[in-house]
């Protein structure tokens, strides 16, 4: 067994020291009923690295990788080019095989990186403090709702209809158990976000209003208006962002008045990975809310010799200290994904992020224009960043499946996200990033033209 260093003679020598006749004796506490007499059946025996690699490669090849297709999927997970040096750094054993930095004297690498990460996220979101990351955007969204409840001592959350349906579902699921009231709605299929409708649902019991920006249909709601309405009744505005690259082109949620900003950070550094692991981002605009935040926080301090150093701090909020009185049961962050995000963001810098955002938007505008010219296709959005909704004359879901056979991954059909809503059948979300070539756009348009004619 290539991962097991003990030799049989080591084992005997160790048993001698222990004073046990054999290894079975060490398992003497296991009751008869649970003792197995050999390896568990129905499972294969050990295999060489070569054999395992071959097996896994076989499974890998049964998938259509995005690089081998004209690719237009988004809906909360975006494909961007990740510089090769990002992966080199996250594969350094010192980062990859480190533990949570509870012993800060020998974990300054992870800690300083987290401090840089928190600072980057806070600035990107227009906030003052960000935590050291959550599981992903959807769970961060729920944690924000729960936090708003703690801050406002109210228990009704008003969710925009244009919040990612998986996020809505996660919030509703968790709220079932905590007893919070979740006022959710379906998205309205219209060119502009329905701010008025959302604002009309806010009342004096509302703890928070949750708005996605850009929203699930790719539209850009004016958060300022919603923030004013929320603040007027003492509620918090929670802004949700699933595409951090957008913030290189559009105003930050914090600037626009959001109190808590959460989101998915996968777009930078992490990659698609079939949905996980991803990277939950969580930040607050007002320092006074820090002690109600969930998750790990890294803070600056000094060591006994006066040198700057970093530690995990304010852990009195956390489960390993406060147990049942913690702000969340979360015990993990998404450390390695946070590292990937931070390295990618450092390579970009403000200049690169703005260039990247501009390039995404430029290509998306081209795609929207060309798609609008395809007979049978209507572009819904008035505003968008790198993703927008089109309506097709037909069942978008079936069209997506058909085009996939020609290696065109045309987008995410609204019916995939909302299987029960008849009126969404024609809707298709189309995302365009810097990895999309103009040739890919032509390919999609040509295929739709043929399909819809």
């Amino acid at each position: 067994m290539r991962y097991l260093p003990l030799t049989d003679s080591d084992r005997s020598a160790m048993l001698d020291v222990i004073g046990a006749p054999n290894v079975d004796a060490l398992f003497s506490d296991v009751p008869e009923i649970a003792r197995l007499d050999g390896p568990i059946r129905d499972l294969p025996m050990h295999a060489s690295e070569m054999a395992v690699e071959k097996h896994m490669r076989g499974l890998s090849k049964k998938n259509l990788a995005a690089a081998d297709a004209a690719f237009f999927l988004g809906a909360g997970a975006y494909r961007h080019h990740v510089p090769a040096s990002v992966d080199t750094i996250i594969q350094r054993g010192e980062f990859l095989t480190a533990y949570t930095p509870y012993q800060p004297e020998i974990a300054q690498g992870t800690l300083q990186m987290l401090f840089e990460f928190q600072s980057q996220v806070a600035r990107l979101y227009g906030c003052v403090v960000a935590n050291a990351s959550m599981y992903d955007g959807s769970t961060a969204c729920w944690e924000a709702v729960a936090m708003a409840g703690r801050v406002t001592k109210r228990s009704k959350a008003v969710l925009s209809g244009a919040l990612h349906p998986h996020y809505t579902e996660v919030v509703k699921t968790m709220a079932k158990f905590t007893g919070d009231t979740i006022a959710a709605a379906q998205p309205s299929i219209q060119a502009d976000p329905d701010n008025a409708g959302l604002i009309s649902r806010i009342d004096a019991d509302t703890s928070c209003v949750v708005v996605q920006y850009p929203d699930i249909l790719g539209r850009l709601p004016d958060l300022e208006e919603i923030a004013a309405a929320a603040h007027a009744v003492g509620a918090l505005l929670i802004a949700v962002n699933t595409e951090p690259v957008a913030l290189g082109a559009i105003k930050s949620p914090g600037e626009l008045g959001a109190d808590i900003v959460v989101g998915e950070g996968q777009a930078l550094g992490v990659g698609l990975q079939f949905g996980g692991p991803y990277l939950g981002l969580f930040a607050v605009r007002d320092k006074k809310h820090v002690r109600q935040m969930p998750g790990r926080l890294c803070g600056e301090t000094v060591d006994a010799d006066g040198r700057r150093g970093f530690v995990l701090t304010l852990s009195t909020r956390e489960q390993h200290i406060r147990r049942e009185k913690a702000t969340s049961n979360i015990c993990t962050n998404s450390g390695l994904c946070a590292l990937a995000f931070t390295v990618h963001m450092t390579l970009l810098g403000e200049k690169g992020l703005r260039q990247l955002a501009a390039e995404n938007h430029r290509l998306a505008c081209i795609a929207a224009e060309k798609l609008a010219a395809v007979p049978g296709v209507t572009v819904l959005n008035h505003s968008f960043f790198n993703e927008f909704t089109i309506l097709v004359d037909g069942d978008a879901r079936q069209i997506v499946r058909d085009l996939a056979e020609d290696n065109i991954l045309a987008g995410v059909s609204l019916a995939r996200l909302y299987p029960d809503v008849e009126e969404f059948t024609r809707g298709l979300l189309v995302a365009v990033t810097e990895t999309t070539s103009e040739e890919d756009i032509e390919t999609l348009c040509a295929a739709l033209k043929e399909k819809l004619s």
Binding site: M45, A65, M174
Partner: protein, 488 residues
Amino acid sequence: LEEKLIFEIGTPDTTGVDLPEVDDSAPNKLGGMRRDAEIGLPGLSEPETVRHYTRLSRQNYGIDLGFFPLGSCTMKHNPRLNEKVARMPGFADVHPLQPVDTVQGALGVINELAHWLITLTGMHGVAMSPKAGAHGELCGILCIRAALEARGDARKVVLVPESAHGTNPATAAFAGYAVEDIPANSDGRVDLEALKARLGPDVAAVMITNPNTCGLFEPDLREISDAVHAAGGFVYCDGANFNAIVGRVRPGDLGVDAMHINLHKTFSTPHGGGGPGSGPVVLSEALSPFGPLPFTARTDDGVIHLVEEETASEFGHTKAFGRMTAFHGQMGMYTRALTYMLSHGADGLKQVSEDAVLNANYILRSMEDVLHAPYAHSGPCMHEALFGDKGFAEGLSTIDLAKGLIDEGYHPMTMYFPLVVHGAMLVEPTETESKATIDQFITAFRSVAERAKAGDELLKTAPHYAPRSRLDETLAARKPVLAYVDPE
């Protein structure tokens, strides 16, 4: 060894990528939301970036550098084959919402991993999507609550042993339960009689860890399960310590209803400095119907299926309590864990737990004459050895011994946990350490323990040979500086 922050060395005008210049005059569809204000994000060229993070990495300790005897955390070797596999384009470069026909291999990984998890634990179903151990705990408790609600049973109490991980009570509280402690007996195990006495119609579940956080197997678990079931409750088992028994004992055989499995502990996915984790939850037949979507279950023909919202009714999985996360969970961790399982096989995994337990007992018996080992009399330990600070000189505590170990070149063991032992030191060697490494560690551990008993004042200021001396955690909490602020 001091490395500046990127905010101190980078500028917003520098970039390590080559992209077209921004044309501010180009028309846009941003609907009036275009950003004008500066964000304040520093950039570095690629050489500077690589050097900055390479240097930072060298201030870290990792398994690749040395022994990491953290109790309850199972810091084992992370095979690089796992990393290679996770990066295959068919896994790394696929979108979670691609048409299912284009991701049959990815779904195959989930199903194959689910098969392993169910078979290794002897359970009925598995909820794959939880993102980490604590998320899995929550999932398990929510399954229990959903099952109870489904039968109209509004039980309000969850019993948790006092030695439990902090996540256990936090999870139960988060799920709306009152938490009550169960005491331990003098052997370091759950007090069976006290537990039985507390059971009743208000008890929704018992959360138990087996092997427990004292590193001991709970031999009465089957009897506990039977009693809990008889009282109408469920048994949640914290799977953090599964590495001690994987391949040798199936929790299903002990009456467990739900157990999360930390893929990053037992199945070698890397800890990564604090995540990402992955915490699938195996479920008994009674709980399986309530597992959240996406869910993986075995059908009568023995085949395992991934059930999503749109196919829930097709597979009769209509009682799912909801969704815990977007998409399908931690695919990148699934590929790594499955790669590890296939590498070891059923025979290798049995050897894993045997060697892990052997290494722990070897440390226990090699240390008990110098360090107080409160449960050494209880028989063999499982995969971790527990010690206390009894006998230390006045003014010296577990933390001083821990920091002393840093100077010897080791990551310290887990400190002050479990809470039931004063100044607890929990040492988990795992199966991937050689006898030579463990012998060297024992020598160092004994030496530092002797110094702690002798009152060596140098320990109070240890570490002396680390990138930093002791850090002022009080200052950090009293005046929190949580983000970089530009100098005036």
